[in-house]
């Protein structure tokens, strides 16, 4: 009897690791999309001030409470997060493209190019991140433009190193060399062998840049070197609520802070589940 039941249990179609990872990935993407879209629809509500609803504790009507001008904190948080997500995407795209170009250049054009790019990587990595961000953002006149460029310019080195390593490795792969000896053109080899090898790394690296970009945008803004007060990024919300924290209005900082944290973790989940989906070592688990 017991043998049969065990067999039957085993036969039950269960979710394997791949399915689970896929579900995590979709969950993260959908939730982030919801945040971004709902945030961009919140524009009006987020700036509506109501003198009859000032400083309210979290309740059914206002799940995140209201602030000192009677603005709904949930709407403000969503709006702030969607701004942060847009900035994160812009900065990561620029950063990833920079990383891709420099990584491929370093690996493909001889020792001198490699040395110059390696030096650049070391310089950017050597300067404390936040300091570099502050300087660039300040020099570019702060605001959205300054933040995006500052985050993009300071985040490419890690990914550039990964891409450089991958290109170097694939260039030495016997099958690439054999393809050349079989008369394949360099461009065709790049398209058929190299791109499919590098692209997954690039994509995952790009997505994992998001959380950094979002956090650094928030940090910059919080310190006053980032977005302007009329662009209600999550950093602005946090730095403004600082003044009211001592008055006991804890919800002004706790909920936006938690929301920021979960957004960052969602991006991280998205990146790491995507990696395990396309990485050949874990793809078939």
């Amino acid at each position: 009897m017991t043998d049969i039941t065990i067999l039957q249990q085993y036969k039950k179609p269960r979710l394997n690791q791949r399915h689970k990872t896929l579900i995590y990935f979709i969950f993260a993407v959908v939730l982030l999309l919801c945040i971004a879209i709902s945030g961009s629809l919140m524009g009006e509500i987020a700036i509506t001030t109501r003198s009859d609803a000032k400083n309210l504790l979290p309740s059914m009507a206002h799940p995140f409470g209201t602030d000192w001008l009677g603005r709904d904190m949930l709407a403000r948080t969503l709006k702030g997060l969607s701004i942060s997500i847009v900035i994160g995407i812009l900065a990561s795209v620029i950063s990833a493209i920079l990383a891709g170009i420099l990584g491929v250049l370093a690996a493909s054009f001889g020792k001198k190019t490699d040395a110059v790019i390696e030096f650049l990587i070391n310089v950017v990595l050597g300067i404390p991140h936040l300091l570099l961000l502050l300087l660039i953002s300040y020099a570019l006149g702060k605001g959205m433009f300054g933040v995006v460029i500052a985050v993009a310019v300071s985040h490419w080195p890690m990914l550039a190193r990964v891409i450089r390593g991958e290109v170097l490795a694939i260039k030495e792969a016997p099958y690439v060399k054999i393809a050349k000896k079989l008369g394949q053109h360099n461009l065709k080899i790049a398209r058929k062998h190299m791109l499919p090898h590098i692209f997954p790394q690039f994509l995952v690296g790009f997505i994992l840049l998001f959380p950094h970009a979002v956090l650094h945008e928030a940090a910059l803004t919080f310190l006053g070197f980032g977005l302007k007060p009329e662009q209600p990024g999550i950093g602005i919300i946090l730095s403004e609520s600082m003044k009211y924290l001592s008055l006991g209005m804890w919800w002004l900082a706790v909920f936006p802070g938690l929301a920021l944290l979960s957004t960052v973790l969602l991006f991280d989940l998205m990146g790491s589940s995507l990696r395990s989906l396309i990485d050949p070592h874990s793809a078939n688990k």
Binding site: P174, Y175, K181, L182, G183, K192, P196
Partner: protein, 200 residues
């Protein structure tokens, strides 16, 4: 055709050569065995002969033309020791085999390559099956010399015998030069018309 190595030396580090002043020549009707102990630089020698690496000194000439830097389909084809790294794991075998010359059906049959393998990925074949595929791939129309770098060391006896008897027949028929680089003196004596033993 004549494949000729003229006093080739090679070192991975400056001032330290693993290959020193090696010279030999092979006609395309010959089967030459090069026997060397483990760690001697057999694979390095193969790569130089097939034009994959540039020797630090000396030259490898095919009818007077330097093999390093030849463009297009290379008449000196090398079969690598490890078949699993010589095919792209992301491509189906039919895409890989399409990279070179058209391979005659006769060769595919003789090596026991089933048609269904070509629709599979390299990971779905065994090492021996993959090695037979790699041998077939190297036997394109324009191949004049075949360099075999320990191609049968990881195969079972029966497959080894099949592969070598096929290669003997094929090189004889097409007047292909075969250079067998191995540590196995017995194998080289069986297969080759001439043996050169390399010592330090």
């Amino acid at each position: 055709m004549l494949l000729e190595a003229r006093e080739i030396s090679f070192g991975y580090k400056k001032g330290y050569h693993i290959l020193n002043n090696i010279s030999f020549a092979a006609e395309s009707s010959e089967r030459v065995g090069i026997v060397a102990p483990s760690g001697f630089g057999k694979t390095t020698l193969c790569k130089i002969l097939a034009g994959y690496s540039k020797p630090s000194n000396g030259q490898v000439l095919l009818d007077g033309e330097d093999v390093y830097g030849m463009k297009g389909y290379h008449p000196v084809q090398m079969i690598w020791q490890h078949p699993e790294t010589s095919v792209n794991p992301r491509l189906r075998l039919k895409e890989t085999i399409a990279e070179g010359d058209q391979i005659e059906q006769r060769i595919i049959n003789a090596l026991g390559i089933e048609h269904d393998w070509l629709n599979r990925f390299p990971g779905e074949l065994s090492g021996g099956e993959l090695q037979r595929f790699c041998i077939a791939r190297a036997l394109g129309q324009r191949t004049r010399f075949l360099i075999a770098d320990e191609i049968s060391t990881m195969l079972d006896m029966i497959t080894q015998a099949q592969i070598w008897s096929f290669l003997l027949e094929e090189t004889e028929k097409r007047k292909l030069g075969l250079i067998v680089v191995t540590h196995n003196t017995a194998l080289a004596e069986k297969v080759c018309t001439r043996i050169q033993i390399l010592t330090k």
